[in-house]
Symmetry: D3
Subunit: 157 residues, 6 copies
């Protein structure tokens, strides 16, 4: 049915980069996240933390391959207010992924399917596709999700 197959794999050359930030305007976070993805980050997320002297802070987390470390550091130092960061070795295990298309009353919508050892274990309607359909047709986004899931499940069962 679908294609764009990518094999399940274990990547041993990953790093989890972290920086604790307590003196940055949080408005900048989303912008910084975008730049980090552009610079090669595999994932970016933020954790609310409590820092020295009880200050509410945020910990930036970036998952990145060995080779992109220096680009990522460049972005972190240039765009956030931290004067230090740390990283730890990490191994990433990623499922095989495949996109399949489902015909809905609101057009074709992609479903990302995940395989573990050959078995389908995940399927998730693409957010962007669903959001666009919901906006265009004025239906609740959750209804689009539900219907895509129903149609996908009906096809494979």
């Amino acid at each position: 049915m679908g294609f764009q197959h990518r094999e399940e794999h274990v990547d041993e050359g990953m790093l989890l980069v972290q920086a604790n930030i307590d003196d940055m305007n949080p408005e900048l976070c989303s912008y910084v996240g975008d730049l980090l993805f552009e610079a090669g980050a595999n994932d970016v997320y933020w954790v609310p933390i409590i820092m020295k002297k009880g200050r509410p802070g945020i910990m930036l987390n970036v998952l990145v391959g060995d080779c992109e470390l220096s680009s990522i550091e460049e972005v972190i130092f240039r765009e956030t207010t931290t004067i230090g960061l740390r990283y730890m070795r990490a191994v990433c295990h990623r499922l095989a992924r495949q996109f399949e298309s489902v015909a809905t009353p609101w057009g074709e919508i992609n479903v990302k399917v995940g395989y573990h050892r050959g078995d389908m274990v995940q399927f998730a309607p693409e957010f962007k596709d669903c959001e666009q359909a919901a906006k265009q047709h004025g239906v609740p986004l959750k209804r689009v999700y539900d219907e895509v899931r129903r149609l996908f499940l009906s096809r494979i069962s």
Copy 2:
């Protein structure tokens, strides 16, 4: 035994003042908290929240009596970066409180005791006293707490 008694009471003239803050250096929080207590706040606390565009923010909460509202607003507008705040009517129910003193190997330590309808329902060693004893005598703070609680309980049982 103790004194400084304050009756259990219900205070209907309280306000819960809130301000969502997404563009302030979080280093300022503790300082702002101190000023709010000086200006008459009964309590001050911060809640990590997620704001517009997914920004990590902090919500300032101040519990305050009707009469202090304007001083509190003054501090919030002068010292934080918010351009608006909101408040809701709140009723506070506070237990009767009494301080009692317990003799420990590290000196006298106060215990704050709370009474609901005449029954003792709470007792808490005073943090400042315990902290000072722990520092001065080089014992773990948790051990001081435990011993104060044990001595207090043994006396009343």
Copy 3:
């Protein structure tokens, strides 16, 4: 199909009771929650907060009807370590609810359906039913959820 209908309604006699807790063993939370539901709470939830002197605390929230306030206060003062609490007037708007049963490969499972102004806007497989089916038949819980949702949607569409 189903029954146990309860009308959509607006309840003006509700209170949101809150207590900030910074000196209680968090192990107690789930037990306290159970007692609060027994004492008549409509809902109980906890919010991580940052309190005076930067202490990580938890704010207990209880949604309760006017008439149960005093039972709820009793539980809070007897079972937690707070020496004060506050409450605010709240209006609750609850959808009409109805339970419908869906026949699945793992037995009958209930779905809670919510109606707003006569239109079905929500439907949620009952967690307890799904959990039991998943355990008994050794299937992933998420697969049970998905299948119940699919069957329910197929029936009504």
Copy 4:
């Protein structure tokens, strides 16, 4: 200098609408937020909470005027998975606001200025303007912010 003046005012007809959500795909949050703003919300934010049975949930908060309540409820029931919501009366105090323009090496950038009782107490470079300048000219966003603040302050001092 500037215009678009809006007077400092206290709005007594506001409501804080809340819904606890423990069974919704969090991907939907930003979309729901956008719809709520379109439906008249003054502010929308999310609070991470711990719900019944220790479930990690999110509490939706919407600040809204009396008159928009029913549109807001419509969006919440249609687009989220909650089967109930609550609201509390709130009073909003908003500063007078004025936009002023600052000439920077990267073009004109607006600054939102807030006045309390006639005194300037806040000023904040507009995020969108700064973000666009940073992207277009390839300079760190924080540097744009800093420079706009410096120029604005130099002008008024």
Copy 5:
């Protein structure tokens, strides 16, 4: 007095497995946690995070020995919605533990005692025992805890 002694030890063969989840019904968390413990996890906990596009998400954390990794991965992929996970090498240092029994007015209650280099540094009444005593005898759970701690401390001092 007690037995069931386990020596203080340092375990170098541990892994911290993490998965960021932004599209799962949080109702599933406790069930997933139970399955992970059954599959050999040493610890399971969840961290509220902010993910791509400002989505509120939860990060699943599992502490597990090298040998159980593949069973843990199986559970994560089968029962959650993630299409990837990561892990990092971790060293665990665990105290010697011993259970001792304390006779209370509400029956025998176990206390878990922790030793570091031969010194008792921790003691904690067993939650399950205390909870059962509190329920059975209708006393506040915190009072059971306090009394167990008092009796244990009185015995050893």
Copy 6:
């Protein structure tokens, strides 16, 4: 201009020590943090988490050099209630730092400046200096920050 220069460097001998705590009075956190810094911690922060059985807990994080591990463990076991901890190898990348002094209407205030590959990427007014100036002269702390930043930027541009 300034001095106290410390070179940008990458430190490979760091450890991130973590302990999950669900049965400690959170009042102790700040005291424990102080002791950890005294024992050689490079950084200490707390993360709100959800533990087994849905308990709200806090995860202690300590960043520390190899050589201080045992002192840090000593403090954690003696002062908190955990019976185990874990640590992971971490690499720390710290910017070159230099303190420069800025003359303000409220006295000299230090600015910590950070350099990445020779370029200035960070500058932050010292919190303690600003706080003292704000207190002594009765000006808003944020205004002190803003003015220090403005003066520093004007000097270098």
